[in-house]
Amino acid sequence: MKTRFVAYLLIALGAVVLLAQWSVVTDRLVHREGADRPKEVTIWSSSGDPSLTRRIAQDFMEENPDVNMSLHFRESGSMGEVIFVSFLSGNPPDVMDIPINQIRDYIADGMVRPIDDLLKRELERNPDYLEMRLGRESEIFRWQTNPNDYYIRNRDRYPEQAARLINMHNRVIGFTQVGFPRMMTFNRRIFQEAAEVFPDAGLVDEEGEPVPPATWSELVRVAKVITDYGKTLDEEENRPYGVILQGRQPRDIMRGITPLAAVAGSIGFNFEGKDWVSSLDQKAGFYEYDSPAFLGALALILRLQEDGSILPGTAGRHFEEPRTLIGEGRAAILIEDWHAALRAAITVPINRRDIGSAPIPVPDEAFAEEVGLELGRGTNPAPMGQGITVITSGASHPEAVWRWLHHGLSVDQQKRRMEMNLTLPVTWEAAERILSAETEEDKKWAQENLLPFQRMAWEVFEESAIWPTPPVHGPVRVDNPETVLHRAFLDFQRQSDLSVEETLAKAREGLERFTQAVNEDLEQRIRSGVHDPGNFTFPEWDQENPTPFFLQQRAYRPEGADEQIALSREDLPEEFKDLTYGFIRSPGWPHLAGILLLILLTILAFLGWKAWKDWRGGNPLLGTTRKESREQWYAYLFVFPAIISLFAFILYPSLYQFYLALHSGTGLGILQSVGFEHFRTILFFEDTRFWTEVVPNTFRYMLMVAAGEVLIGLALALVLVLPFRANRLYRTLFFIPLVTSLAAISIIFFGLLAGTDSTVNQILFHLDGFWERFTGYSLYPEDSARDFLNDPALALYTVIGVAIWSGIPFNTILCMAGLQSISPDLYEAAKVDGAGPWRRFIYITIPQMLPILVIIIFNSLVGAARHFGTVYIMTEGEHGTEIASTYIFKWGFVRTDTQIPDVGYASALGLVYALLLGVFIVFNVWFIAQRWKKRLAPAEPEKKEGNK
């Protein structure tokens, strides 16, 4: 009877699982050598200073030389950089004890401090907390590294930085946590000292107590006085530093920064606006970003130290939400990045393979000449020259900046820059009108004129290497402008053979020029009454109904908005009137033309072939009867949309991919022709990661997922076709993953499996405890849990398991359909002949189901190669789970610290990948063609029957 056989199958499955428990799976789950327990300490750093976190980790490693550690860095959301410090010994992933006192020392040191209030409280209450937590299982702590604390508390190790920090803190004039003006704390000492020099300035009251400014204009006034006081000091080091604003209401702060920053720039006053809210609020309408980018640059330039280093710290994550800033109208202009500010070299990346260490060859001289940039070498191949700077409304002097940046360029060069969209021309009036739209009319004008501008700005922004990480992931992955600037500075200095002081002087000189321009503009506008630095409002932040971002942008696009190319082209200076640029990076019409051309060529080729055949054979070209030919024309009509879609999305892109694979570039930037460089890289095995990890993983993934899906699906189908009454319940139970989205499943499994304290691990611990109580034998000696998704030995198989899990119901249904199509007479006949269940299975079921099984297997194989979502959501391709689709995706679209998207290389990878799958594709094509050719072929002019 079938049931018995099915039961055998279930038992066999169970036995397999149990056996596996003691062999491979056990070995992978548990590591028994030595009394090791895995300890993984995660240091989440949100200092915004990646070099600091690395330094901490390296210190950690140095202080523990006998502990074999490895560092993994990962950027995680709003937390900045995450360091996983895995303590290893011997072959990975063996583990070793953490010296607990080490962590305690670091805590006591102030180097790390717990970010979680709960954790902090626990630590304060319970000194054994660490031991308690660490003793039980691997723990992930979250710490926040504060660079200032770190340096100050380790001042013996970093004396200069500590001294500077202390000095800086002593020089800061004011600091606010929540909002201005009531919540600001001022530096009493500075006020009093300044009051001694300027007694009439109203800085202190009668008793000598400082009077904190209560309004923005008061603050501006006070700032001016204090700056003047600072100028009376001999040592520049002791001059008052500035005001730091931190708050929860970014918009309000920003609106306040606008005039203040203008003033700040003009009086050389350091001003940092800093606000952060949790990334959770980011989606709710708050936006997280650090200093206004331009002011950051300003501050940075002033904070360049004598040895060329930069005071670390607060200007950490710029460009946090530039798109949002653009969308809200707070970012008006995109111009060239600060690199150009120092006239440093542009490095156009050519060879993606050599990222990191080798110097990049000198780029095209003609290109550099054309755009007025200087040649040079960079040690970091980040395409800094292609970066775009967002200037927020805080530094709303675009024209002045524009003038400054184009200082020394000829008109032709400026034009060329604009044509290449490295620079965008915007006049001051237009930008100001946008940014300060108060009345309805202004807002409407801003809306109408801003939208194309935003789009333009957006595209230019997107062209930079900042794209394409979505903002909800936290900080946009861009080079820290600090480091960009720093690198630029160093590059410039190295290239121009100047000493550090001279380079610094040049930088300052550039800044002077800029500040002067800013100053002039500001004064002129204040004089003309356009701009009142003290008069602005704090608009109410509507927490309840933040306008959805895309509704702002999409739904209300006025007619004709696309027609406006430049914002106010008429306002451009005379020599720019004949600019021919468009703001579509690469125009779309070539693609359309290409598609149409391809279709035409195909039709022509076909007609030619037909004509040749007819000339040989004598058949008429089209149908003879009128009805037939009318039918044919209608057929073309029916076929038309699908054919367009096929050509547009499958055939033309394949050819375009060949074209792309011969070029190199980031995103939409400048495409450079590199010939067969990419193919050489791939096919000559120079891309080791591809051949050692990606290709084997892909095939392993495909085969294991397909095998698992089909086998388990078949087994399940064998059970579910039995005529149990409760089978419908079981079908429901087992088929639920059919309709649930793969993304949701991946996230759920990510939640279940991620981390060493994951649910699955906890359950296994409980089961292990149970088992241990019975047998005294524990599968987890000393709690050595494995992290299923982060452990390179396990991760791929975990993901494969999830993929199998999600693919089982589909295959079960197919197998069930196949099984139900076998007529029971065969089974009866076999039973009469005395065949047992196993023989019946092998000799009847399998052969009968063979055609369907082949289809199923093929579907699974091909479908498994499409599992981008599962892998990417669960592991993002890290830790040894890279398959071809994630690899191509990363090469095409993801920018990390060590890798820049290269569209050409990704295209070449895609072609090679298609080639590797070629066997499957060809077989698939042949298979389908075989099945369908007869049914579709025009046999003879008679009618053909319907079925088969």
Binding site: H473, G474, L814
Partner: protein, 391 residues
């Protein structure tokens, strides 16, 4: 000795008398056979199968820290929550400091995990006033020096300061409104509807043409169709992406919709197969009435093909709803226009440890579809069985 009756085919009994227990066990076995083990096995594996969803549901109703720490517990524990808006309570106890310690002792004790404030539910938007409430009571001027005497949680509950709650349904509200999941759901629906419509139209028209018409180039079209159906999608994402971006289709949803419809072209085989089975007489009779091929198609053939249209629609729906790569590419710059699959992915970055929110989002994404599935299970399963095999 030849067998005389069916009794002789039985195995001879062993001479010893077996105990009652074994005999009844054997009797039961002979009656029911393998049924019970199979049921047991199916129930067990079935439970394993839906365990992730159970976990998702239970985690979505926990508080944040509870979700983080009590991951393996399926049923959320009872929680005592501080009521957010509370009138200040005045005490004039003298030993304020001591009492405060005591109260905090209760509030934060780890022993009474299930009844303690270890996982205090703090309302989503925390204002300074709420923090004040958390640490004690404020008097009129907002000073935090007033503490609570040691009171039992019961008393606190009666006083209305504390409420008991087990399921935190606020997570859904948070995810829906604050994290803008209503936008994502809407986007998903819009995209899916468009893709389904376009796919049905396109593939049905193409399938009909291939099945019914003879025209020069038919084999060519067929060949192109096969190429389109089997071409690996991931290999051509880059050129298609750039093409769509240049054509400015990326700014809205059209790029995604067209792209998704294009990759669903393989369902044409289903339609063609079905149309082949429709006898020609039906359409010839319509043609006699003077209808052109177009009219025939839309009024007769397509309605006749309803089951297969629904199958194709189901497949297209699943493809469009579940697809991750293409929406990810197309909406990288527009976080608010992401469909659900990509929105879920964003949880992995910013809210990686907010398991309660992640589970709520996943539940929002999954539960409606599961309910739909439960209602239409039979049709869906049949559609898939028929469609995937024939196609």
């Amino acid at each position: 000795m030849e067998p005389q009756s069916s009794e002789d085919f039985r195995k001879p009994e062993s001479p010893e008398k077996k105990s009652l227990f074994w005999r009844s066990l054997r009797g039961w076995w002979e009656r029911t056979g393998w049924t019970l083990p199979i049921h047991a096995g199916l129930l067990f594996f079935g439970f394993l199968n839906i365990y992730p969803f159970l976990w998702m549901a239970s985690t979505s109703l926990k508080t944040g820290s509870e979700a983080k720490s009590e991951k393996e517990i399926l049923v959320p524990g009872l929680k005592y929550n501080l009521v957010a808006e509370t009138e200040p309570v005045y005490w004039d106890d003298r030993d304020l400091n001591e009492r405060q310690e005591d109260i905090l002792e209760i509030l934060w004790s780890e022993d009474e995990r299930r009844r303690s404030f270890n996982e205090t539910f703090v309302p989503y938007r925390v204002t300074p006033r709420e923090y004040a409430v958390q640490f004690g009571m404020r008097d009129e001027e907002g000073n935090r020096d007033v503490g609570l005497a040691r009171v039992e949680l019961e008393e606190l509950r009666e006083m209305g300061i504390v409420s008991t709650k087990r399921w935190q349904t606020e997570n859904y509200r948070v995810v829906w409104t604050d994290l803008r999941f209503y936008l994502h759901t809407l986007t998903s629906f819009v995209i899916t509807a468009a893709v389904v419509v376009i796919t049905i139209l396109t593939s049905s028209m193409l399938g009909y043409a291939l099945a019914k018409f003879q025209f020069p180039g038919k084999m060519l079209v067929f060949g192109l169709l096969i190429l389109g159906a089997v071409a690996p999608r991931e290999a051509v994402i880059i050129p298609i992406f750039h093409m769509i971006q240049s054509l400015r289709l990326m700014e809205g949803l059209w790029g995604m919709v067209l792209w998704l419809s294009a990759i669903s072209i393989g369902h044409t085989f289903l339609m063609a197969g079905y149309f082949l089975t429709i006898p020609k007489e039906v359409e010839e009779s319509a043609a006699v009435d003077g209808a052109g091929p177009l009219r025939t198609f839309f009024t007769i053939s397509l309605p006749m093909a309803k089951p297969i249209v629904m199958t194709v629609g189901l497949f297209a729906f699943l493809n469009a709803w579940n697809d991750f790569l293409i929406p990810l590419l197309c909406t990288m710059a527009m976080p608010d226009m992401q469909p659900l699959a990509v929105a879920i992915y964003s949880f992995r970055g910013a809210h990686q440890d907010d398991w309660h929110l992640t589970s709520s989002a996943a539940a929002i994404m999954v539960v409606p579809v599961i309910l739909l599935f439960l209602f239409c299970q039979r049709q869906i399963v049949n559609s898939i069985a028929v469609g995937a095999v024939k196609g």
